[in-house]
């Protein structure tokens, strides 16, 4: 058991879930108190001790299925399974077998007969996966193969046909029931495939082929819609942290000026001894944040992310100003702010904002010029400016002096570039020309990198210091 546990912890670390030594020991101690016959008990115990962040739970579950999934059947049975598999793989697969299984599974799903369903899934994987012992192919491949041969999409339609509801609400509920059923089927098939693979190749090898990046490691430029939706929930806490970092924070623990009136008032309780001095609470400074977001086509996915970030920031702080640009720039602050919903904000942004001037290809120079001409007064020595974009200006004049002017007026200017830094300054990227005017230029392709940027963020203490730093940097 301990061996399995250490291998499992290794796997979690390899995926990127931080598991400390102490936590691994806790897990080992927890195991002593668990009913090991129950898979769920083991799962609860390990998740409570090893995973301390909700967004890592999905990775934990995937790895758990590989390492502690359904018990491997004894040798003979496994051998028999493989023999069957080999036979099935030799034949055509699909054909009548698949059709019969399809009907049977549809019936079992309809009836909610879990026992029958499990048996059918075992058969489906045997007959349809084409899994052969010893062949190194990723686990995901077999899963898709089974689902495709079985006709999972058709299955959904079949179940929908059976729904006989006119009432829209009842219909919607029925559709969601079916979606849940199909999801359950997918999970079970995936588990079964994993179980077979583990029996053949051992958990370590299988886990390697099944790894998916953690939420914080997903490339934001190429995230899928589903991944983005998950990322959106992770952005909230991060935005809050960023905002507090951006605020001019006083050193922790420092109190404000002595409050003479209250101190004397309090001293009356102690017979006039000034025992308990009272201080005025330090004024909370509000962060002023100015965001310039490239929302052109090449940035579409990333732009959605930055706007989500903006959205979370704007929901908490009134002093956030948002400007979007493609080859022209417009103030879009009005679309964000408390009580707004991201979807409508994005819609309004694309339909109402004047962000396209000529052809809808990024033109950083023109956008920056627009900003200096119309909005420079909104930048004050207290505002931090955040530019997000790939600095690919389609070979147009970058107008670095416009950025220099903004940088000079601001307290700090940061550039977040969603492109891998090795591609900067290739082709039409002019990152290097803008860089001298930025307090920092960071590659931010993942949430993890954004987190690190937020962690490291130290605002320049004073404008004078900053001028010196920029001159030398």
């Amino acid at each position: 058991m301990i061996r399995a546990l250490t291998a499992f912890v290794e796997e979690l670390r390899a995926v990127g879930v931080p598991v400390s030594m102490v936590e691994a020991i806790d897990a080992a101690q927890a195991i002593e108190h668990l009913d090991l016959a129950s898979r769920d008990a083991l799962k609860s115990g390990l998740s409570a001790t090893l995973v301390k962040q909700a967004r890592h739970l999905a990775a934990f579950e995937a790895a758990f299925d590989v390492f502690f999934g359904t018990a491997t059947p004894p040798g003979e049975q496994a051998a028999a399974e493989f023999a069957q598999q080999a036979a099935a793989a030799g034949g055509a697969g699909g054909g009548e077998g698949a059709e019969e299984l399809f009907e049977a599974i549809a019936a079992a799903l309809n009836a909610g007969d879990e026992e029958a369903l499990r048996e059918l899934i075992r058969r489906a994987v045997t007959e349809l996966s084409g899994l052969q012992p010893g062949r190194p192919v990723g686990g995901r491949y077999y899963f898709y193969r089974v689902m495709q041969r079985l006709g999972a999409d058709r299955l959904r339609l079949r179940l929908l046909e059976a729904v006989d509801e006119d009432d829209p609400l009842a219909r919607r509920i029925a559709e969601e029931d079916i979606a849940a059923l199909i999801e359950m089927l997918e999970t079970e098939v995936r588990r079964e495939v994993v179980r077979r693979l583990v029996a053949d190749r051992g958990p370590e090898a299988v886990a390697r082929t099944l790894r998916t990046p953690l939420l914080e490691d997903i490339d934001l430029m190429h995230a899928t819609r589903e991944e983005l939706a998950n990322i959106e929930t992770a952005v909230g806490p991060l935005a809050r942290k960023l905002a507090t970092r951006m605020a001019q924070r006083r050193r922790h623990g420092r109190k404000g000026r002595l409050d003479v009136r209250r101190t004397i008032r309090r001293s009356l309780q102690h017979g006039g001894v000034l025992l308990d001095p009272s201080f005025k609470p330090p004024r909370k400074s509000k962060p002023e944040l100015v965001l310039l977001c490239d929302v052109s086509g090449s940035m579409a996915t990333f732009a959605r992310f930055t706007l989500q970030l903006t959205f979370s920031l704007a929901a908490q702080f009134s002093n956030v100003k948002v400007f979007a640009f493609v080859d022209a720039l417009d103030d879009v602050t009005r679309f964000f702010g408390p009580g707004r919903e991201l979807g409508t904000s994005l819609q309004q942004l694309s339909s109402e904002a004047k962000i396209v001037w000529q052809d809808g290809h990024s033109d950083y120079g023109h956008a920056l010029d627009d900003f200096v001409r119309d909005h420079l007064s909104k930048v004050t020595p207290r505002s931090s400016v955040l530019v997000t974009g790939d600095a690919r200006s389609n070979y147009r004049e970058p107008r670095v002096e416009a950025l220099a002017e903004i940088a000079q007026k601001a307290r700090a200017l940061y550039w977040l570039n969603p492109e891998a830094s090795r591609y900067w300054n290739t082709g039409d990227s002019v990152m290097a020309r803008y860089a001298p005017y930025c307090d920092a230029v960071r590659e931010v392709r993942t949430i993890r990198q954004l987190e690190r940027f937020v962690e490291d963020l130290i605002l320049p203490a004073s404008p004078a210091q900053r001028a010196v730093a920029l001159a030398h940097g």
């Binding site: 931080p18 400390s20 102490v22 936590e23 806790d26 101690q29 927890a30 108190h33 668990l34 009913d35 769920d40 008990a41 609860s44 115990g45 998740s47 409570a48 001790t49 995973v51 301390k52 962040q53 909700a54 739970l57 009432d167 829209p168 609400l169 009842a170 919607r172 509920i173 969601e176 029931d177 849940a180 909230g236 806490p237 809050r240 942290k241 922790h252 309780q269 102690h270 017979g271 001894v273 025992l275 308990d276 009580g339 919903e341």
Partner: protein, 292 residues
């Protein structure tokens, strides 16, 4: 002293009697927390029963519940202990003329200490349940204050020395995940993520809390609530809100959920006007739009 229970199933039973339907995941972790003497850190959306878990835990074990509500700016004096200046001063005045050494030993004694929740939990003679609610609201620097209490159940007061708990409290921390907690804190806890219950469990909860509900009605309500949660509203309905909603529907004598979904009752479930409008639109409730 550990080992209040002999199995997770026992916990489920005793919780159920108190009207808290815990799934096996929750009971398993509560059981482990009891066995390993570790705090539980619960996280999840608002209103899924995180705080309720601690309250139920206290009731089930017959322990006193001590609650520390966290907020921004919470400090040592509010969480741990404070010296009672006024009493100390009175003492000094009353004893004028006495030797300094006597006095000093005197005024820094336990009778001049104002205990706050954390110290209270440590010094308590009978075993307690300590609930540290919404721990994500305190600043990250203040978190450090909790660490000594959480891992060795002791408090160090410079003038008095270290006070160790005579009986180990069961500790539950709750977080709404508005910010990330420090590694140090998380490492010391068992992590329990509570999300919205499955349809089946929500139905059971509804039936347990609103006994006059029929089976089919509870099922319907649970499913409509699932639909609504999928919409990604500004504030998704919590379990307690769906219970309230079920009660409202019952009170109005609604026979079907569809008939019960009106602007008036949705206000029980949802807390923003634009959410209400969105739900009405998305669930295609034609009859809502007709009258206006």
């Amino acid at each position: 002293m550990s080992g209040q229970w002999t199995s997770p199933a026992e916990i489920a039973d005793s919780f159920k009697e108190l009207g808290y339907l815990a799934d096996t995941h929750i009971t398993q972790i509560v059981y482990l927390a009891d066995r390993l003497e570790k705090p539980i850190l619960t996280e999840g959306p608002a209103g899924v029963g995180k705080t309720e878990l601690a309250v139920t835990l206290a009731k089930a074990t017959g322990r006193r519940l001590i609650r520390l509500q966290c907020y921004e700016g919470l400090d040592e004096a509010k969480a741990l202990y404070e010296w009672n200046y006024h009493k100390q001063l009175l003492r000094l005045q009353a004893d004028e003329g006495k030797a300094w050494d006597d006095l000093e030993g005197d005024i820094f004694g336990e009778s001049f200490l104002l205990t706050r929740p954390l110290l209270d939990a440590i010094t308590s003679q009978e075993p307690v349940v300590l609930l540290i609610d919404e721990v994500d609201r305190i600043e990250i620097e203040t978190e450090a204050l909790l660490l000594e209490v959480l891992d060795s159940f002791q408090v160090t007061i410079p003038e008095l020395g270290t006070i160790t708990a005579s009986s180990r409290p069961l500790v539950v921390l709750t977080s709404n995940n508005t910010r990330e907690l420090s590694e140090a804190l998380k490492r010391r806890c068992l992590f329990l993520h509570i999300s919205y219950p499955s349809v089946e469990r929500e139905r059971e909860i509804l039936l347990a809390r609103v006994p006059e509900l029929s089976d089919s009605m509870a099922d319907r309500i649970a499913k409509v609530v699932r639909s609504i949660r999928d919409l990604k509203l500004r504030k998704a309905p919590s379990v307690s809100e769906s219970i309230d909603w079920a009660r409202t529907l019952m009170a109005l004598g609604a026979e079907d959920v569809a008939a019960g979904i009106t602007d008036d009752t949705l206000g029980v479930l949802l807390k923003y006007q634009d959410d209400i409008e969105r739900v009405a639109k998305e669930l295609k409730l034609a009859e809502l739009e007709a009258p206006s």
